[in-house]
Symmetry: C2
Subunit: 260 residues, 2 copies
């Protein structure tokens, strides 16, 4: 499934910079930490950082760039967050205005970029542990009725990824993912989706949810779309994020920043 | 060693509020997460929070209060950070001005309180695993030549706690503490103190360091004094912290917020 370029995160990012890689990063670049991206003006940065701190499970911060600096010098030296993701979403006043492959011309001197750990990081670890997507379906992204802890004007629902597993796989997956504490860690829920008020009628991503097979236990992880959602509800004039499943590939080794 | 009051963090805090408990918290209130305290004006809060994010191992944030609010409502509902610690240090322009048992009259509307995980939290877990202080000595606090990652005007050396152990205990202690990722986690160094430029001549706390016995391996953990040190070097007009080894006792169960 993986190509030589995927074992070199720098090469992967350069391919994105050149426009040669515009597709998803899900299941690509195995072993490297993937990050969600949120770019906000400095005036929002303190409250947003506080929001992430208060909701660490959904918003584990990997890096915050210096104001105006698009270079994530700690997690990916040499990278440029204006060009090195395959696809971006540009939101104006909380509405998706456009998707695009570069944001060079939109960058502002007061921008702060937040890199937030993504659960896509542990898919490779699950695979190594024999927990493969149920019937090839990766996961759904769904809204829950759990609430984040507010910080200033940032608040909103907890967004979750839902993976279908056998009960035995659910136990293994809990053990495996707990170690990846910078990438959402252990599940937030296992079993009946109603208990956390999951909206199965309108998943945010992953397509329609079929009826639950009898041998399946749904397992839910906090999802990095949560901070995006909170930021969108603030209706900030201009905010930029990665496009879903088109994440930033860091130089960080997933097995190095996780716990034993 | 523990008294009934120590199994009820709320009762322990009330005893401090009344002035009945003015001594150390080291080795007290076993099982509850202890926190270092740093209080700064809002104007410093973003850069300090960013500093903590960039130096998570030394500065694991447990809670940041809302501006002007002295109540840590998430980690200890009902507590008051102006009275519920046994002893405070008041720093003016980077110099220790006084130690006192309450800071009620010093509290300002623009103050933000940071609770930062303390390694004192895992001493109980080490004890349960049979790793007792070498010859009854708890630990030293020492300066190293490792540097923190700067954030704005905050920067400084990594401060460490040094514990003496047998090599076998060092291995056990690494395994045990790695789980306590919100309380400095695994060691930052093991063995020769020179490698990290440890200043053994002038330990910050713990008294003079005798010659290293042959059967001892020094083990070093990141210490919550690090962010204090960085804040002191900023020479902020008014900054308040806990006094060393007189920490804030939260309601958080150490075994609940650590990893499996």
């Amino acid at each position: 499934m993986s190509t030589p370029i995927e074992h070199d995160p720098r090469a992967a990012r350069l391919a994105m910079r050149r426009g040669d890689w515009t597709g998803e990063t899900l299941y690509h670049a195995p072993g490297y930490v993937q990050a969600n991206l949120v770019i906000l003006p400095q005036s929002e940065a303190y409250e947003f950082l506080l929001f992430c701190q208060r909701n660490e499970k959904t918003c584990p911060i990997l890096e915050v760039t210096d104001t105006g600096d698009p270079h994530p010098k700690y997690s990916a030296p040499g990278a440029d967050l204006r060009t090195d993701l395959p696809k971006y979403c540009v939101y104006r006043y909380g509405n998706l205005a456009e998707e695009r492959a570069s944001i060079e011309d939109l960058w502002q001197n007061d921008f702060v970029a937040f890199l937030i750990g993504s659960g896509m990081t542990f898919d490779e670890a699950l695979r190594r542990a024999g927990v493969l997507p149920y019937q090839g379906r990766p996961h759904w992204i769904v809204k829950t009725n759990l609430r984040t802890v507010p910080a200033g004007r940032f608040q909103g629902p907890v967004i979750a990824t839902m993976r279908w597993m056998t009960p035995q796989q659910a136990i293994i997956a809990t053990q495996v993912t707990a170690r990846f504490y910078k990438n959402h860690g252990a599940p937030i829920h296992v079993g009946d989706p109603d208990i956390i008020g999951t909206d199965l009628q309108n998943p945010i991503a992953g397509g329609p949810v079929p009826e639950l097979p009898k041998d399946v236990t749904p397992v839910f992880w906090a999802c990095g779309v949560t901070p995006q959602w909170a930021a969108l509800e603030r209706k900030i004039p201009l905010m930029i994020t990665h496009a879903p499943r088109h994440a930033f590939i860091t130089d960080l080794l997933a097995d190095q920043i996780c716990l034993p």
